[in-house]
């Protein structure tokens, strides 16, 4: 009887040992798989943030429509060093505008986020109200088609949630999104 009990006890131990063996192997495999896939999608980049490369951006409008935030964390940024301060700014005015005045009907921006400040005849400074900007890139298009390309889109990190998988990056037709070090978060 005792012998039989011992055998039973041993079988139970062996049963558990073998089960744990199976479990460990499977968990290792699952862990490896998960890590590989995470690496592929950039989860290992602890000190990295999302940014878009204006050189690659084709101004498709998706930055305004696919960010998980409303309005988008992508905003228009003005590179003042590249600006001509023109009275006839292609990023500010609708193409074909006859009157170069601040009337809403003349402005290209759908949310009136671009402010124009008179400096001296005929120079104006253009600045972006980021609370109004939705990152639609209309002005970026206008500035590159008629100006010096001084208006560009950038992810603003005071708003961006730094999602593991940036929704805009997934749908960007130009693959303009990339991970950059948080110490140098801009690509301009």
């Amino acid at each position: 009887m005792k012998k039989n009990d011992d055998k039973k006890a041993m079988d139970r131990r062996e049963f558990i040992r073998t089960g744990v063996r199976y479990g460990c192997v499977s968990l290792l495999a699952a862990g490896g798989l998960y890590l590989t896939s995470s690496r592929k999608y950039g989860k290992d980049s602890q000190h990295k943030v999302w940014q878009l490369d204006p050189e690659k951006c084709i101004k498709c409008g998706k930055c305004a429509t696919t960010c998980v935030l409303t309005p988008s964390a992508v905003k228009c940024v003005h590179v003042y060093a590249a600006c001509g301060y023109c009275n006839l700014c292609g990023g500010y005015f609708q193409p074909g505008t006859k009157k170069l005045t601040t009337g809403g009907e003349n402005q290209l921006c759908p949310t009136a986020a671009i402010k124009r400040t008179y400096i001296e005849d005929p120079y104006y400074e253009y600045s972006i109200d980021e609370n109004l900007c939705i990152g639609c890139a209309k002005c970026v298009n206008g500035c590159s088609d008629f100006g010096n390309s001084s208006l560009v889109l950038q992810v603003r990190h005071d708003r961006c949630l730094n999602c593991n998988e940036c929704n805009i990056a997934k749908s960007c037709p130009a693959q303009a999104f990339t991970r950059v070090p948080s110490s140098r978060p801009e690509l301009i």
């Binding site: 073998t18 001509g84 997934k170």
Partner: protein, 343 residues
């Protein structure tokens, strides 16, 4: 293995192995299959219409009746890489410049002469006597027709950024986009005047130069024509710096100039008409001596996306030569003969 052992292993597998396989399968599904389908969804959404689209294609359309020139097949092959400037001298030879050299070609592209210059020329002009002025971003050189250096000055005031050069009479004129002035030099390379500075009393608004497109050409009568690109205006200055006349054509349509810094290049024909080249909506047009739009030489559809017209010139027959940044060759446009001429 006994039947009992097989049974036990099966139970072990069912109790521990299967749930783990299920977990792995779920992870694989979430990471790869679901992801793929999201991507597919995104792809289909890529074809969605952009609610913020910006379309200027209508502005690029040109009524074919306005086009009075036709491109001659072949053009002129330029025997150097990345040409940066071009002109046609009064002897009907082409001068084309690239890094460290200027080549003289006949109208078929045969090389006649080579001039060594140190640096990347931005603009070249040939005087009636054969002197050649070559300007660099921060330097200016004058050579005689025998390839002898008259002067080579590389030191100019801070912020100098030369963009174009013209020789007229005894003076050499250079546009400086950095300091927004037209500089006049004598044949010794000394600055004798700075023209076009803002002067309300003389009615001079000053040059508005938002980018490095700021052209000057000789005016055939001891004057020069300069583009004031920020206000789409052509201004005519006498040799002593007085503003004699000007005309502008502010319009987004074919009849005018729009955007920043147009026209980028100008040219004066023998009959006094102006040829103008533009950027953004890339096109070449002709205006009367007083600035009325006359016709189109090359419509926007003649240029590949991203083309820059590096320079324009004309020969004695009135053909227009366009140095195209994409092909890096000279494209030639001949006046279309009208019906009466053809008969």
């Amino acid at each position: 293995m006994s039947n009992r052992k097989i049974k036990e292993r099966s139970i072990q597998f069912c109790l521990l192995g299967l749930p783990i396989i299920a977990i792995i399968a779920t992870l694989v599904y979430v990471k790869f299959i679901a992801d793929k389908s999201t991507k597919a969804g995104n792809k289909s959404s890529q074809s969605q219409v952009n609610p913020f689209s910006y379309d200027i294609s209508d502005l690029k359309k040109v009524n074919s009746e306005l086009v009075k020139y036709v491109e001659r097949g072949g053009g002129v092959k330029v025997p150097l890489r990345r040409p940066t400037a071009m002109t046609i001298a009064s002897d009907n030879t082409i001068y084309v410049a690239g890094k460290d050299r200027v080549l003289q070609l006949d109208l078929r592209g045969q090389q006649l002469q080579e001039f060594a210059v140190l640096g990347i020329p931005i603009s070249v002009d040939i005087a009636k006597n054969g002197d050649m002025a070559v300007c660099f971003e921060e330097g200016l050189m004058l050579l005689d027709k025998n390839n002898q250096k008259i002067f080579d000055v590389r030191k100019f005031p801070k912020n100098t950024l030369f963009t174009s050069v013209a020789i007229e009479g005894d003076s050499i004129y250079v546009t400086d986009a950095g300091r927004r002035v037209l500089i006049q030099l004598n044949r010794s390379g000394e600055i004798v005047n700075e023209i076009g500075k803002r002067d309300s009393d003389a009615g001079i608004q000053g040059f508005i130069v938002p980018s490095a497109d700021f052209d000057v050409i000789p005016g055939n009568d001891e004057t020069v024509w300069v583009v004031n690109p920020g206000i789409h205006q052509l201004e005519n200055y006498t040799y002593d710096g007085k503003l004699r006349s000007s005309w502008s054509a502010e319009h987004v349509g074919i009849q005018g100039f729009s955007g920043c810094c147009n026209p980028t290049r100008i040219l004066l024909l023998e009959n006094g008409d102006f040829v103008t080249a533009e950027k953004h909506i890339v096109r070449v047009k002709i205006y009367s001596p007083t600035g009325e739009f006359k016709c189109v030489v090359a419509a926007p559809h003649k240029f590949e996306d991203g083309t820059v017209i590096i320079d324009i010139a004309s020969d004695r027959a009135g053909n227009i030569y366009i140095l195209d940044s994409k092909s890096e060759d000279i494209r030639v446009f001949e006046p279309k003969m009208d019906r009466d001429e053809k008969k």
